[in-house]
């Protein structure tokens, strides 16, 4: 698939569009349908498309697993941290009214923060799961290739010693 120019060009147009749409769904969730869960999944879909079209290796370079794993926990921490912030401000856990003087602005801020936490965790989790599954396949193929190569080498060695080669064509 990586050699098809049509797919490559279409993907290059689609991936930023999907990411932008994910951000719209994320930050417009107060007014229209949407929110952190949907936005996270849509954002992850953009990276899955990148991995499918340009290969897992390139996708891992664009979106390093190390930072992705940080995103998984950062989202939960942001959500829980918002609750701790409201506690430090003197109210109950996750009581957004304490975050600001104006009650509606306080609610908006609280909802924005926790929704962003949800979106961050969901997007990172989906990307991590896809990379893990796809990477496992690459790993299995590599092991199979190495095993076949070793069998072929062993067969060649046996042939050199004058013994009949078995499974010599496995490579």
């Amino acid at each position: 698939m990586q050699d098809d120019p049509v797919i490559r060009v279409v993907a290059k147009v689609l991936i930023p569009t999907i990411m932008l749409f994910a951000l719209y769904v994320q930050f417009h969730g107060d007014y229209g349908p949407g929110g952190g869960f949907q936005a996270g999944v849509i954002f992850a879909a953009a990276l899955v498309l990148h991995a499918v079209v340009f290969g897992l290796h390139r996708a891992r370079q664009v979106w390093p697993m190390r930072y992705n794993l940080m995103g998984v926990s950062a989202g939960v921490l942001l959500y829980g941290g918002t609750g701790v912030w409201s506690m430090l401000a003197g109210a109950n856990y996750l009581d957004y009214f304490a975050l600001k003087a104006d009650p509606k602005a306080a609610q908006h801020l609280g909802i924005l923060l926790v929704e962003f936490g949800v979106g961050l965790t969901v997007a990172s989790v989906m990307v991590a799961l896809f990379f893990a599954f796809a990477g496992r396949l690459t790993h299995i193929r590599l092991v199979a290739k190495t095993a076949a190569h070793e069998t072929a080498e062993a067969g060649k060695a046996a042939a050199d010693n004058g013994a009949p080669a078995r499974d010599g064509d496995a490579g």
Binding site: V25, G29, D30, Y31, G32, P33, G34, G35, F37, Q38, V41, I42, A44, A45, V48, L69, V72, S73, G75, V76, Y79, G80, G83, L94, Y96, P103, K104, Q107, H108, G110, I111, V114, E115, G117, V118, T121, V122, S124, V125, M126, A128, L129, F130, A132, F133, A134, G135, R136, L137, H139, I140, E150, E153, A154, K156, A157, D160
Partner: protein
């Protein structure tokens, strides 16, 4: 009448997909059917005016779940193992279904304003969402503000599940069982030695 036709068509489609999925043994077709089921269910939610649920169903159920299931398919055999219908689980499933069908008669009329679910906390949420919180989308204000604890729990569930799957899949395994006088490097060195011996033999 038009609404009835749309509902009847969607429910009919859902039943057809479910029945076909029961009889299909190729896992690829099964994954595609489950995606189609989710998409049809999303359309049904739109008809029921639950656009947020429909959005989630389309994005998660039809979208990313299908992709993850396809990624799993690449690690497992192509076909489902043929198996006979187990009588006891089938009986339990049919009995539960029958009980649910019987109990439908006791449910309040669909959309009735005086149904218990609509007179408990829902009026407070609907009036408070605009006045108190200032968020027009009631679903968001319930999800993120009124029920903030529940959503925190959901996020932690996703987090925990991901950590568990990554621990299994990413190859972080226990160190090999070591005998007396061995270190972890013994195994690595032994593997390298084996490979070198193999190359020497080949040459």
């Amino acid at each position: 009448m038009g609404m009835f036709a749309v509902n009847a068509f969607l429910i009919f489609l859902l039943v057809i997909i479910a029945v076909v999925a029961l009889n299909v043994h190729r896992l690829f077709a099964l994954v595609m059917l489950s995606g189609a089921f989710s998409l049809t269910a999303a359309a049904q939610f739109v008809v029921l005016d639950a656009v947020d649920v429909a959005f989630t169903e389309a994005a998660v159920g039809a979208g990313i779940s299908t992709v993850l299931a396809l990624a799993t398919l690449s690690l497992v055999p192509r076909e489902e193992k043929p198996h006979a219908i187990a009588p006891l689980p089938a009986l339990i499933a049919v009995a539960t279904g029958a009980l649910l069908m019987v109990s439908i008669g006791d449910l309040p009329q669909f959309g009735a304003a005086d149904a218990p679910v609509h007179i408990h906390v829902a009026p407070d949420y609907i009036s408070g969402s605009e006045k108190l919180i200032g968020v027009p989308n009631v679903v968001t204000s319930v999800l993120a503000s009124y029920r903030g604890y529940d959503t925190l729990g959901e996020t932690v569930v996703i987090f925990t599940a991901a950590i568990a799957v990554l621990l299994i899949l990413a190859g972080w395994t226990r160190a090999p069982h070591l005998r007396d006088g061995e270190t972890e490097n013994t195994h690595i060195a032994q593997n390298a030695q084996d490979r070198e011996d193999g190359q020497k033999d080949a040459g």
